[in-house]
């Protein structure tokens, strides 16, 4: 183990599997996550096939997958499909890519560290995740079939009463292991960000990406254990025959199925911010980089991240408005949910402020980011509809909810993944991704994405429930078939468009243009080392003098002839001649270096 991680040239050898290098671990998470993204996406295609052509044999793959049923998706198979699609996408695709891969790759490089604070724990985290994926995969192949209780696994359906098979038990174990991996990652990320920042990297000089990961990790550390508790109790119910979630008698006392929902959503709502915070961080940085302007209102953005993190656990009841919760509780959750949209609006305004009067470069990562801003806007605003109890009585458990969260997770978060991949690909693999292919992928994706998820909103408003095997059972849903078919066509285009990305990915890996050290001409630390970085990241630990987005500073332009300034470059470069850094310069917007927060760097870092 020790030797593997210390060999700078560790290629894809067996030894690299046990590497403790954060960059190698990041690639392991990436490979795992992308593979499952493909699986989850494929399942989405099957779901859409069933919605467009209920109980018709699936073309091409039907015989192979559903041979026993003559190529038709059975109700049981459909139930497993959406359960596993949701589970895989959230826990086994987005989590490993966004948090596992990007978090691992970016945090040490962006804060100027040699590695994570606890490299062995990091390796353990990826292996726990691997064990979780193994367990989940196994759940497909056991007697009585794959899990069928939905990604939320509501009791009593998820107990042995509703889903007796071994598959559901394995699901519980897989989620538990997945959570353990996330908590390990969170411990590492938080400690690394607190302790391993390079000298001069004050809290307010951190790239917003790092802030996003920090807040995500805090939520992971605090709320994944709550899910774990739910899984432990569910496991007890399923395996030992206890009755935590099975209603008991009023005389002897007993379990409560609603308790499961409290535990699940007390985790589940923070979870959605766990997924969006890194995306927010990435897009806040990238918009600045490609508009060649400092991120507008950096402090407000950071404040918004913190506010969302603080509030996130206080709103979870909005998923339970129709369970008959007490009126006072329901009303509080409704108002709190509406309040949490204020920081989101602040973020949004700051993004617009960053774009405004910029010099916008429409490289592929930027296109993905702009698409993200658009889809997150629609997705977030539809969240307000659901936050209103009166509207939610009608919209709850319809496709309107499905449309809401896909616009955020299936569109915005997915686009953040594409943006991050194209942006950091050169640093990860030393080659550029192909721009024309990337642009083609972007346009096909963004158009079809909006048809699919916008269509889901319309269908949900028309009243169609989620998780319906065959909507035509209901008369009032029959006229929606053409719309469902349109959505499915668009989804197939969307799915096919992803093949372009796959091709681009592998082609660029092998043949892409060699990446220079700093292809995007930006100043954050990861771009001050070679592409890909050496094993130890930086030859000398950098000393930081500037914030992350020192772009378009006229003084720098005059002095250096370029519009960006590295975070490590001399402090005076950004200041008018002979002005002490302490005195705020007359020129607007030039801010004094921040000294807020704990000591910049632990003594003796270098």
């Amino acid at each position: 183990m020790e030797t593997a991680s210390d060999n700078p040239a560790s290629g894809p050898s067996a030894a690299a599997l046990f590497s403790r290098d954060h960059k190698v671990i990041a690639k392991q998470f990436l490979a795992l996550g992308l593979a499952f993204l493909a699986v989850g996406g494929f399942m989405a295609m099957l779901i859409r096939w069933q919605m467009a052509h209920p109980a018709a044999p699936v073309p091409l793959v039907g015989r192979a997958l559903f041979g026993a049923a003559g190529g038709i998706i059975s109700p049981a198979a459909y139930t497993s499909l959406f359960t596993m699609h949701g589970t895989i996408m959230i826990f086994f695709a987005v989590t490993p890519i966004l948090i596992g891969a990007f978090g691992n790759f970016c945090i040490p490089l962006m804060i100027g560290a040699r590695d994570m604070a606890f490299p062995t724990l990091n390796m353990l985290s990826v292996w726990t995740m691997a064990a979780a994926t193994g367990t989940l995969t196994a759940s497909f192949f056991v007697p009585l079939g794959a899990p069928q209780a939905g990604w939320t696994a509501y009791a009593t359906l998820s107990t042995a009463v509703g889903t007796p098979g071994l598959g559901q038990t394995l699901w519980v174990v897989a989620i538990y292991l997945n959570g353990a991996s996330s908590v390990m990652g969170a411990i590492n990320y938080i400690t690394t960000i607190i302790r391993e920042r390079a000298p001069g990297m004050t809290w307010l000089r951190l790239p917003l990406t790092v802030w996003g990961f920090l807040m995500t990790s805090i939520l992971n550390a605090l709320f994944v254990p709550v899910l774990a508790a739910g899984m432990v109790l569910l496991f007890f119910d399923r395996v030992f025959g206890t009755q935590f979630f099975i209603a008991g008698s009023t005389i002897k006392g007993g379990g409560d199925p609603i308790l499961y929902q409290h535990l699940f959503w007390l985790f589940g709502h923070p979870e959605v911010y766990i997924l969006i915070l890194p995306a927010w961080g990435i897009v806040s940085d990238l918009l600045a980089f490609f508009a060649r302007k400092p991120a507008y209102g950096y402090r407000v953005t950071v404040g918004a991240f913190v506010a969302v993190t603080a509030l996130s656990s206080l709103v979870y009841g909005h998923h339970m408005f129709t369970t008959g919760m007490s009126p006072l509780l329901g009303e509080s959750f409704m108002v709190l949910t509406m309040i949490i949209s204020v920081p989101a609006v602040l973020l949004f305004l700051n993004w617009l402020g960053t774009l405004w009067r910029g010099s916008i470069h429409l490289d592929t990562p930027m296109l993905y980011c702009l698409g993200l801003v658009f889809t997150f806007g629609v997705g977030g605003l539809t969240g307000l509809f659901l936050a209103d109890i009166v509207a939610d009585m009608y919209l709850h458990d319809t496709y309107f909810v499905v449309g809401h969260f896909h616009l955020i997770m299936g569109a915005a978060v997915l686009l953040a993944i594409f943006a991050g991949l194209t942006f950091w690909f050169p640093k990860m693999f030393g080659r550029m991704m192909n721009e024309p292919l990337g642009k083609l992928h972007f346009w096909l994706t963004i158009v079809s994405l909006n048809v699919v998820f916008g269509g889901q909103l319309v269908i949900g408003y028309a009243g169609m429930q989620r998780r319906l095997y065959d909507p035509s059972v209901y008369e009032f849903l029959r006229p929606l078939l053409p719309l469902n078919q349109l959505i499915s066509r668009a989804a197939f285009v969307l799915g096919a468009a992803q093949l372009i990305f796959v091709v681009n990915f592998f082609w660029s890996l092998a043949r892409g243009r060699r990446a220079p050290e700093n292809p995007w001409q930006v100043g954050t630390l990861e771009w001050s080392t070679s592409s890909p970085p050496p094993h130890h990241n930086f030859d000398a630990i950098p000393v930081v003098n500037h914030g992350p987005h020192e772009l378009g500073n006229p003084l720098v332009l005059a002095r250096l002839g370029r519009d960006w300034l590295g975070q490590t470059e001399a402090a005076e470069l950004a200041w008018p001649a002979r002005t002490a850094p302490e005195g705020p310069a007359a020129s607007e917007g030039v801010e004094p270096p921040d000294v807020a927060g704990p000591p910049a760097a632990p003594e003796g870092t270098t």
Binding site: R292, G297, V300, V345, G353, L355, W356, A391, Q465
Partner: protein, 247 residues
């Protein structure tokens, strides 16, 4: 509308539609502004030879005031107005149950995989007696009178969903939930299950017949006679019925 919701047949459904319309309108305007601002930036603030981005961190006091001001204004204009209206509607309409209303028709709903059972108390007004009328997947109600449901479930969580009445409520094992509504006009309306409750969740469909009060009375009388004939006093028959007041 070609792909709109089913026609609203309830007394209070228009409040739901109103909230939806209000949100669509206000958030639509905000989003349109956002798109226009983005569009202008993308059209006119693009990279060009010689163009230099305007240098600002947007971290001066007036930038903060601007963003905070817009956010608070949005909150007050959209969220707060909506919350005020909705809280009022919940207090005065949706959560103001007709406990004391003698005209209200009370129904016990039992959900199970994958069917709905509806129980009316009959003339004696008490549940679990020999004049109870029990129907499967079909709910008979009078139009123009409040309908007051109490629900529970025998196995897993279900959710009674009445799209034409813009409402739904979960049926939970081990506890009682309640819902009230009123049909504005007679008609046949679909009801369904909205909460994933197993493989045949999609089949858990039923119908609600709203008939003029007199017709409904006639139906009830006949049904009560049938029920009396069929009643046998084994505990099975009363199973699923519980004391209304206890719930």
């Amino acid at each position: 509308m070609p792909y709109g919701p089913p026609r609203d047949a309830s007394l209070d459904g228009h409040l739901v539609d109103g909230a939806f319309a209000y949100l669509t309108f206000t958030t639509g305007i905000c989003f349109a502004i956002v798109v226009v601002v983005m569009g202008i930036a993308l059209l006119f603030h693009r990279q060009r030879a010689g163009r230099v981005a305007h240098y600002t961190h947007g971290d001066r006091r007036r930038d903060h005031v601007l963003t905070l001001g817009v956010a608070v204004a949005m909150f007050l204009g959209i969220d707060a107005v909506l919350a005020g209206r909705s809280l009022g509607h919940l207090e005065t309409r949706f959560w103001s149950y007709p406990d004391a209303d003698p005209a209200a028709v009370r129904v016990e709903v039992t959900a199970q995989q994958w069917a709905w059972t509806f129980r009316l108390a009959g003339p004696d007004g008490r549940f679990g007696t020999r004049d109870d009328v029990v129907t499967l997947n079909e709910l008979q109600v009078p139009a123009g009178r409040p309908i007051y449901l109490k629900l529970h479930s025998k196995d897993v969580i279900h959710s009674l969903y009445l799209p034409a009445f813009r409402t739904k409520i979960d049926a939970v094992p081990g506890q009682t939930t309640r819902l009230w509504f009123q049909a504005r006009e007679a008609g046949r309306y679909e009801l369904g299950c909205a909460q994933h409750c197993g493989v045949s969740h999609y089949k858990m469909r039923g119908e609600m017949m709203a008939t003029p009060d007199a017709d409904w009375q006639r139906w009830l009388d006949r049904a009560v006679q049938d029920a009396r004939l069929r009643y046998d006093a084994t505990p099975d028959t009363a199973l699923g019925a519980w004391d209304w007041e206890q719930g």
